[in-house]
């Protein structure tokens, strides 16, 4: 098993696979609804000028996540 990264540490242009969600309750539910389940491929598309939020490509849609959210998503870089 490769090492896990927090999604917020995934560099722009690289791709990872979701391994775990650390969030619980409603934020977790929201992430699941966005399609973030273990095994989902996720690409870091671009970062906003001030570094937050960051746009990710998730299952056919570009979705911006804040640092607080992307920190709670663990991925394995591909």
């Amino acid at each position: 098993m490769e090492h896990e990264l927090h999604l917020c540490d995934l560099p722009v242009g690289s791709i990872g696979k979701v391994t775990r969600l650390l969030a619980i309750g409603l934020p977790r539910r929201r992430m699941l609804d966005l399609g973030l389940i273990p095994g989902t491929k996720i690409e870091c598309v671009r970062r906003s000028p001030l570094g937050d939020p960051t746009a990710f490509h998730i299952r056919g849609a570009i979705i911006a996540l804040r640092y607080e959210e992307s920190q709670q998503i663990l991925i394995k870089p591909l």
């Binding site: 929201r30 699941l32 849609a61």
Partner: protein
């Protein structure tokens, strides 16, 4: 033609905004779907732009309703707010959920974007868990075709267990078929049998325990299995909504305290 908050402020009256749910001659059809799936287009083509704006008591989220006739049957179509989910508790989601759950429309049409099915089916599955009277409308088939996607409506129908209709609402294609299927579902000529989602064994075991009790508390009014799942989720907002709509709560409340605790400890185990 989307409705803004402002356009809806004009008519605010009564909880259901004059929909007469007791009139047996009127069939209530809910229209649900993700944002930007062409829900409004489907709505307008079905109703011929015959739409009124509506609003929910105490909520500022708009829904439109309009009516149409098909085979001498009067249908009222209720356009619910576009949502990705019914579970994450934004106001839009609560409005959509409460309508499907408590007003119990005769059928719910779920409009899905054919170019983005994977993302859209989430909502369809959630609605199928609440009510069996579901019709899936796969819209934007032309755009999907342009992207080179082929949607196998027939096997979707078989796998989901509910009728699946393909449409290109912008060109009016497939809408007659949609009306016909709606007619058949509403008049029990087709009985949709949504595929049941089976959860992990600890969740299923808990459901086995609580569902019979919930059935006693809720009767036929709401799907007990689904309420059980929400209790395990610790979904307080659904409980609040149930308190608002039904008068058999004290026991339910007791139940929820125990289950909320259970939900919190188990939640992290549900997925990895």
């Amino acid at each position: 033609m989307k409705l803004t908050h402002r356009s809806s402020e004009k008519k605010v009256n009564g909880r259901n905004n004059n929909i007469d749910f007791s009139d047996p001659n009127i069939k209530i059809i809910a229209l649900a779907g993700n944002p930007n799936t062409g829900k409004s287009t489907v709505f307008n083509s079905l109703t011929g732009l015959n739409q009124h704006t509506g609003n929910w008591a105490g909520k500022t989220v708009t829904h439109a309703k309009g009516s149409f006739y098909y085979r001498n049957q009067h249908y009222v179509l209720v356009d619910l707010p576009g949502t990705y989910s019914l579970l994450a508790n934004s106001v839009e989601e609560q409005v959509a959920r409460d309508f499907i759950c408590f007003n119990q429309p005769h059928a719910t049409i779920v409009v899905l974007d054919a170019t983005c099915l994977e993302r859209n089916l989430n909502l369809a599955l959630q609605i199928m868990e609440i009510t069996p009277h579901v019709i899936i409308c796969i819209n934007l088939l032309d755009e999907a075709q342009r992207k080179g996607y082929f949607i196998d409506l027939n096997s979707l129908n078989i796998q989901l267990g509910v009728p699946v209709v393909g449409t290109i609402a912008r060109e009016g294609k497939g809408l007659e078929h949609l009306k016909d299927i709606t007619y058949q579902v509403v008049n029990n000529l087709i009985t949709p049998k949504p595929a049941k989602l089976i959860y992990s064994s600890d969740i299923e075991r808990t459901l086995e325990k609580i569902t019979p009790q919930l059935e006693k508390l809720l009767g036929e009014r709401i799907n007990a299995r689904w309420v059980g799942l929400r209790l395990i989720d610790g979904d307080q907002s659904l409980l609040n909504a149930i308190y608002e709509h039904i008068d058999t709560f004290p026991e339910l409340k007791k139940e929820s305290e125990v289950l909320k605790h259970y939900g919190e400890t188990k939640q992290s185990n549900i997925l990895g």
